[in-house]
C-alpha cells in the first residue's frame, strides 16, 4: 500500500445566512495517498498552491437557505478556484509537474475527477503564479469578456465601474484606461479610492459609503453621462446609473451583490429610461467566454510585462487562515484580490 500523507482541509459546516463567516467553515486533517489508483481514469491529483476567494462563492438562496458555492455539500471541502501543481494524472491533457488553474477544493491535496474540463494549463510562469487566481484567471477573464464582449467599448467612452477595487473591477478599469476611456470607479473605503486613482490611474473614484445621493454623485463624475456601466452591485447604484446613461449606453452586469440577501428584491424604478436612451443591459457569465482565454492572455500578458497593467493582492498565508480570508473578502476588508497561499510551488 502507498504511503499516506496528511491533508489539511477547510470544510463547509452547513447552510449559511447572508455572507459566509469564519464560523461557517471548520478545519480538519485527513490523509491522502499521493498517487492515483489505477481505476481513476481521467482524474488528476494536484497539490493546491493558491486558493481564490471570490464573491460567487456565497452562492444563491435556495428554499433551504444560502449555500456556500453552488456544488457544496455539507461537511465536504469547499470548492473554489485555485492554482495547483499536478502530482499525478490519468487525464490525457495533464501530466505530472504541470501547473494548472481551475476549480479545485480547499485542502492541501485534491483529486479532481469531474471538473477537469475547467482546468487550464499555466504556460507562462514569468508572472506571479497567484495571478492565475485573479488577474489571469476567472476574475480577469470576467473583466475581459464583460468589458470587450458585452461593453463593446470604443476610445473616449465614459466608463463607470462599481466594486472597482474588486478582483474584476481592477482589470476592467485598467483595460478601459488603456483603450483611452474616461474611467471612474466606486469602492468601499478611502484607501481603495486612493489606490484606484493613484495606482490604477482612474480618472476619478469615490467611496460610495460617503455619498448620500448616488444620482448626484454620478452626475458630478459624468456630466456628459455614462457609455459603459460595469455593474457588480445592482440596487441603488444600478438605479443611479440608469438615470445617467448616454444614448446607446451598455450596462454589463457581472453581479448584483446588493440584491442576493433581500427577502424581496428591490424594484428597479428607473428601468423605463432604457427606452429613452436605447440602453442595453446584459448579464453575462465568464463560462460563456472561456474560448477567448488564449486571446485574453495575448492581450493582457504583454501589458503585465510592460508594467502597464498591475494588480493588488491580499495574500493570506496558510490554509488555516482561509476561512478568515474568505470572510474578509465578503466584508470588504481585503486590501486587494483575496488569495490564500497554501504552499509554494
Amino acid at each position: 500500500m502507498e504511503e499516506q500523507v496528511s491533508n489539511k482541509q477547510v470544510l463547509a459546516a452547513g447552510l449559511i445566512a447572508g455572507n459566509p463567516k469564519q464560523t461557517d467553515m471548520y478545519l480538519q486533517t485527513s490523509t491522502i495517498t499521493l498517487q492515483l489508483p489505477p481505476e481513476a481514469s481521467n482524474a488528476v491529483l494536484v497539490k493546491n498552491l493558491y486558493l481564490s476567494c471570490d464573491p460567487y462563492m456565497r452562492g444563491t438562496k435556495t428554499t433551504f437557505g444560502t449555500r456556500l458555492f453552488y456544488s457544496f455539500s455539507p461537511h465536504s471541502p469547499i470548492i473554489g478556484y485555485g492554482v495547483c501543481e499536478v502530482l499525478d494524472s490519468k487525464h490525457p491533457n495533464f501530466k505530472k509537474g504541470d501547473l494548472v488553474w481551475g476549480v479545485t477544493q480547499w485542502e492541501e491535496y485534491s483529486i479532481i475527477t469531474t471538473m477537469t474540463d475547467s482546468l487550464f494549463e499555466i504556460e507562462h510562469t514569468d508572472v506571479s503564479l497567484s495571478y492565475y487566481t485573479g488577474l489571469l484567471g476567472m476574475p480577469g477573464m470576467t473583466a475581459y469578456a464583460g468589458f470587450y464582449e458585452v461593453g463593446v467599448p470604443k476610445k473616449g467612452d465614459y466608463v463607470f465601474i462599481s466594486s472597482a477595487f474588486g478582483a474584476v473591477g481592477q482589470l476592467v478599469g485598467q483595460l478601459a484606461k488603456l483603450m483611452g476611456c474616461y474611467v471612474v470607479g466606486s469602492a468601499g473605503s478611502k484607501d481603495k479610492v486612493e489606490i484606484l486613482k493613484n495606482k490604477f490611474g482612474f480618472d476619478g473614484a469615490f467611496n460610495y459609503k460617503e455619498e448620500k445621493d448616488l444620482n448626484a454623485t454620478l452626475k458630478r463624475y459624468f456630466p456628459k453621462g455614462i457609455d459603459i456601466y460595469f455593474d457588480n452591485v445592482g440596487g441603488d447604484m444600478f438605479e443611479a446609473a440608469l438615470l445617467n446613461m448616454r444614448r446607446r449606453g451598455r450596462i454589463a452586469v457581472a453581479g448584483m451583490i446588493s440584491q442576493y440577501d433581500l427577502d424581496e428584491p428591490q424594484g428597479i424604478k428607473n428601468l423605463v429610461n432604457i427606452i429613452y436612451k436605447q440602453i442595453k443591459i446584459e448579464a453575462f457569465t465568464v463560462y460563456d467566454y472561456y474560448h477567448l482565454y488564449p486571446k485574453f492572455l495575448d492581450t493582457v500578458l504583454p501589458y503585465i510585462r510592460e508594467g502597464k497593467i498591475t494588480y493588488v493582492e491580499d495574500i493570506a498565508e496558510g490554509l488555516e487562515n482561509g476561512p478568515a480570508a474568505l470572510e474578509a473578502m465578503f466584508t470588504g476588508r481585503s486590501a486587494g484580490k483575496q488569495v490564500v497561499l497554501v504552499a509554494r510551488a
Copy 2:
C-alpha cells in the same frame, strides 16, 4: 401670384392628459399654393395620401404635460408618418410625381423642409401603398430591426410578443414563424387573438385582459421558457417575462406603453433574474437601423408577393376622421394597423 387651393388640416389643441383623444385635436381649413416659392431650397411639396396612427405619437411627459408627438407645437398640424405624392420639389433627391413615405403633417398638402432626410422614395407600387405606413414603413422596419438585430433569432427559438396585433407585432410574429420559431402573442381582445392564430399562424395567443396571473400564463404557453421577448408594453408583462426567460434569452424593448402615464414608474422586482440566466435587455429605436431598409425590403417584399406575409389594416376614410382614428388606435379599438386615407394616388 399662383392659384391657391384649400388645405384641410388636423391641429393639436394643446397638451394632452394620458392618451390623445379626439378632443385634443381640431379641424381647420387653410389655403396653400401648389407650387414651391423659388427660395424654398431643398423643400418638397407633397399631397398626403395616407397618414399613419402610431403609439409613439402620444410623446412623453414633460414638466408641462404630455405632448402629442415630440416636435408638436400647439395649433400647428400634427406631425406623423405618411405616404405622399410629390407635387413640386426643390430637393435634388425628389421630383414631381415621386411617391414617398416618411414624416409629414396631418393635412391635405404639406411643405416638408427640415425632415426631408426622413423621406424614402417608394419604388415598389405593386403592393398596397398604405403598407408604407405600416408593414413596409416605420413599424415594419421596427419589427425587422428589433427581431433580427436585437433579438438575434435562430430556428426553433421560443418567441413571445406583447401587443402582437399591433402594427409592429404582426410582422414580428410572421418573421419569427418564417424562421421556424415557436411564436406566442398577447393582445387585448378575443377577435385579435383569433386573427393572430388563424391568419398569422401564431402557435398560441392570449387576451391579456383575461389572464389573472401572467407568470402562470407564460409558463403555460412556454413550458421550456422564452428565448426572445419582443416587448411593447413593459410593466407586469415584463415582470412575468423576466421569470420565464431561458438562459441567454434576449428581450428586445420597442416600447413600454404601460409605464408612460404613471406618476411614478413601476419598480421592476424580477430584474435580478437576468443574472441567473444571463439575459440581455436591449431597448432600441428604428432610427438607428434605417440603413438596413433596402435589405428589409429585399426580405419582406417577396414574402408579401408570395402571400407568406400578410397584414391587417383598419383604414379610416377622410382626414376629418383622423382624430377618431388616432383615438381608436390608442384605446385598442382599431381592427388592424390604423391608417387614415386622405386621398387616393
